[in-house]
Structure formats: C-alpha cells, structure tokens
C-alpha cells in the first residue's frame, strides 16, 4: 500500500506522507495555481501535475525528486491545422432531429489538460494526456514532447479529417459542461485506461461523446457505448452523446470496466463491448462522478454517490461510499467516520483512489477521507484543504 497521497486542488498540489505520526501534508506546491490532476508515474516515480492558470494557459509540471522540486515541461499543444466543428449549448428550442447546418470550424487550442495516464512497464517514456477540446496527446520521451493522436481527433464521429479539408461526416461529439469555464462548449477527455496486459489496448472516455477503444496503440478507434443510456434524450441509446463521468478498469481483469454518469452506474465484463446499468437509485447508488475498481477482482468497485443532477451534493446531508463485490447486482453502503449531517460535499471524477486495502477521497468542500479497510470505515485527514479536484496514491 502506498504511504503517499497527491492532491490536485484549487490552490496547488498537496502531498501527504504517512509516518509514525499519521498522514501529514507538506508545504503546498504550485501555490495559488489550480491543479486539475496530479499523479505519480509508477514506473520511475516521477510526479506530474497539470496546471490550469486562469490567465496564462495550461501547463505541465514534473518532479523527479519526489516533490522536492518541480520543473515546467513543454505542455501538449495542437499542431497547425488542427480544427474542430464548434458546438453550442442547446437552447430551449433545440430540435435534436433537425438537419445539421453548415459546420462552423475553429482552430484548436488546449483549454485544459484534464487527465494524465502512463504507459505500461514495457513502454518506457510513454505518457498520455487528455484535454479539452477533446484531444488525446501522446509522449514517448517522458513528457519532453507531445503529439496529437490524429486518428481519434480525425474520427468520423467528429467530422473526419479536418486537417485536409471540409467535414466528411457530422460531428456527434457534444460539449462538456466543464468547458464552460473557458467560454466554449467543447468535449473533453478525462479518462485514459491503459490495459496492463497489453499496452496498445486503450480505452478513453469523452465528455460528451462516450467511450472509445483502440487495440492498435491508437491507430484506430471504435465507439464502445452499447448498453449506455441517456435518459434525457429522445433516443437514450444513441451511439454518441454519452457523458461518462469517469471510466476505470480492474488492473488484474482489464475486461472489467466501470463508469458512472448522469443516468446511473454502468459495468462491462467484456471490454466495454456491452455495458449494463447496475445502479440502485433507491439505495442512493446512481449519480456520481468517481469510480474505482479492485486491483484483482473486476466485479468489485466503489462509488461515492451524490444527489442527481442539478443539485450535485451529498444525499440528504450525509456522505457515504458504496461498494459492490458482485458486478453491481448488490451494493453495500458505508457511513462510519463520514459526516451524516449538513454535509454538502461533492467528490469529482478524479478525487477517489484505491491502493490495496486503502481508499481515499477528497471533496470540493476541502475534506479528505481515508479508509484502511476497503471503504468500510473512514477517518478524516483534514477539513480545510482547498477544493479538491484529484486524489491519487503516490
């Protein structure tokens, strides 16, 4: 189990170390700068942080000395000619069946580096970055340089190859509400799942499009949204337009994938070829953002439910964690050690993590909770952190 925690927060990167006195936070790094995501590369111990300067754009920061010092590295940037078809927030008179108008194009710029992922042990130097507006970037030199994955950017579900000309298909990807902070309504890649047993086997999740799979290292991509539902659209089972909040897989059984979205908790035991809804709304297990899976048993997963959808806060003022060990057929809820009165916490998509028996989550209210017994009981590691965007064991 890990004895280090990395928090990406509204006010910087917080690292906590476990010692004989308990978990203790170090002095904050990147003070004052919002950190979308912070994580440790398990292959070489490098720490990474995705910075979201309000004025100065997105940046990447790296530490090769366990957080003692940080260096800025060249962040992912779109190449010349990278365009996308602009989307706008639907208006009240939006008609989803109306024929598409002439596409409006925009030159791409990175608004947010939403997540980072690391290649397999045999893929030295391979990293991935998921961004708004929906670009997947790949580095093969440890993050010194980045290249846009063009097959995904040029996917027919986005209009085809706009580097070479006009759209050849309709853009079926919609915007993520998270992009509104940047004055746009564009999609974002927030989940990148690398198959531990086959590094060229990838899943990405896009808000708002759905899940895509590549089995050839990103040279081609296939939508994997069968069984997903969007209760808020005329055709809930449409191929595109899904809003997975977070997608993860069991490292030991990578064909077992989990996600949560506006319309429930969904589980696949066949590599995302088929999803099935496994939420239990009457037990409160339905809406939420983060989900983690057990390292070895793909049927076991945890969520931190919230009240859907417009309220986005703890259900009835009480914070709890739910766990299934049978692929979502049944759920246990755990409240021991978590506040049960006047709690308004929301736990964002990257703010729950697992390492062995330990789980940890942080909320936008600045509360951080740790479990040493697979989520059955919890203790607070602090109530006064800045709003927490990501939690990762180091």
């Amino acid at each position: 189990m890990s004895d280090t925690l990395l928090l990406g927060t509204r006010k910087g990167t917080v690292i906590l170390d476990r010692n004989t006195a308990g978990w203790r936070p170090r002095a904050i790094a990147h003070a004052g700068v919002p950190i979308c995501y912070a994580a440790r590369d398990p292959r070489d111990g490098t720490l990474w942080a995705s910075l979201d300067h309000g004025h100065w754009g997105t940046k990447l920061s790296r530490s090769r000395d366990a957080g003692a010092s940080w260096e800025e590295v060249t962040p992912p940037r779109f190449p010349k000619g990278a365009r996308y078809i602009v989307k706008y927030l639907p208006t009240p008179d939006f008609d989803p069946n109306a024929p598409a108008g002439e596409p409006e194009y925009a030159d791409a710029t990175v608004f947010k580096i939403w997540t980072l992922a690391f290649g397999n042990a045999d893929q030295s130097g391979r990293l991935y970055a998921g961004t708004i507006p929906g670009g997947l970037f790949v580095s093969d030199d440890g993050g010194d340089s980045w290249a846009l994955n063009r097959p995904l950017w040029n996917h027919e579900s986005r209009g085809g190859d706009l580097f070479i000309g006009e759209a050849t298909s309709e853009n079926r990807w919609a915007g993520t509400p998270a992009s509104a902070d940047y004055g746009v309504f564009e999609p974002g890649i927030h989940s990148i799942v690398v198959d531990p047993s086959a590094g060229d086997h990838l899943h990405v999740a896009v808000s708002t499009a759905g899940v895509l799979e590549s089995s050839d290292g990103g040279q081609s991509w296939t939508g994997r949204n069968r069984g997903m539902l969007m209760d808020y659209l005329p055709n809930p089972a449409a191929e595109w337009g899904h809003d997975p909040h977070c997608v993860t897989a069991c490292p030991g059984q990578p064909d077992h994938l989990w996600q949560q979205n506006h319309c429930g908790v969904f589980y696949s035991d066949d590599g995302a070829r088929n999803w099935r809804k496994v939420s239990v709304p009457e037990a409160g297990v339905h809406f939420g953002f983060p989900v983690v899976a057990d390292a070895h048993d793909g049927r076991t997963a945890w969520v931190v439910p919230a009240r859907a959808d417009s309220e986005r806060m703890a259900i009835d003022g009480g914070l709890f964690v739910a766990r299934t060990s049978d692929g979502g057929q049944s759920w246990q809820t755990f409240r021991d050690g978590l506040p049960q009165d006047n709690a308004y916490d929301i736990v964002l998509r990257h703010a729950l993590d697992i390492a062995g028996e330990r789980l940890c989550f942080g909320s936008t209210t600045g509360n951080l909770y740790l479990s040493e017994d697979r989520g059955e009981s919890w203790r607070c590691l602090g109530n006064n952190f800045p709003p927490i965007y990501s939690v990762r064991f180091g």
Partner: protein, 92 residues
C-alpha cells in the same frame, strides 16, 4: 527602442525579467513578443495560445491603446512606445 512593461505576476515564472528595463526593436506586437521570447524562453506560451492569438484573459496595449488585432498581433509599436502586458483580474 520600445520598452515592455508587464504585470508582476509574470515575474514568478520569468524572474530574469524582474527589475530590468526590457527594450526591444520596434515593429509589430507579434515581433515584440518574439523578441521577449528570446530573452525569456517560454514566455510566449504564457500570453499566446498555440495558434498565436492572445489568450482570452490577457490584455496588451501599446501606450494607452489596447491592441485591436488579438489574433495576429499586427498592431504597430513605435520607436518611443511602451507595450504593457497585463491580465484581467479575477477572484476566488
């Protein structure tokens, strides 16, 4: 030669610019920023996006006139001009 002044927030990332007079050749605002890039590598990425346009919350003026061409930065900077780089204020 024109001089460049900027918000002190940028000195956090480019301390080599603090406390010195930054003189650059006259030309367009784009040329001024390219000159700054040679003095402080990486500076452009803080004020421009990868398409070369001014970032949304960055403002540049030549003397007391805000630049008009935020996309290509073609506004001219005279020999005796001062270029100011500053940011919109936000809280939270």
């Amino acid at each position: 030669m024109p001089v460049v002044e900027m918000t002190s927030h940028l000195y956090r990332f480019f301390p080599q610019l603090q406390g010195r007079t930054i003189s650059v050749p006259a030309g367009s605002v784009a040329e001024v920023l390219r000159a700054l890039e040679t003095i402080a590598p990486g500076f452009s990425d803080y004020v421009l996006d990868e398409q070369g346009a001014l970032r949304r919350h960055v403002t540049v003026s030549v003397n007391d006139t805000l630049v008009i061409d935020r996309m290509h930065l073609s506004d001219r900077v005279p020999e005796d001009g001062t270029v100011y780089i500053f940011q919109a204020l936000s809280g939270g």
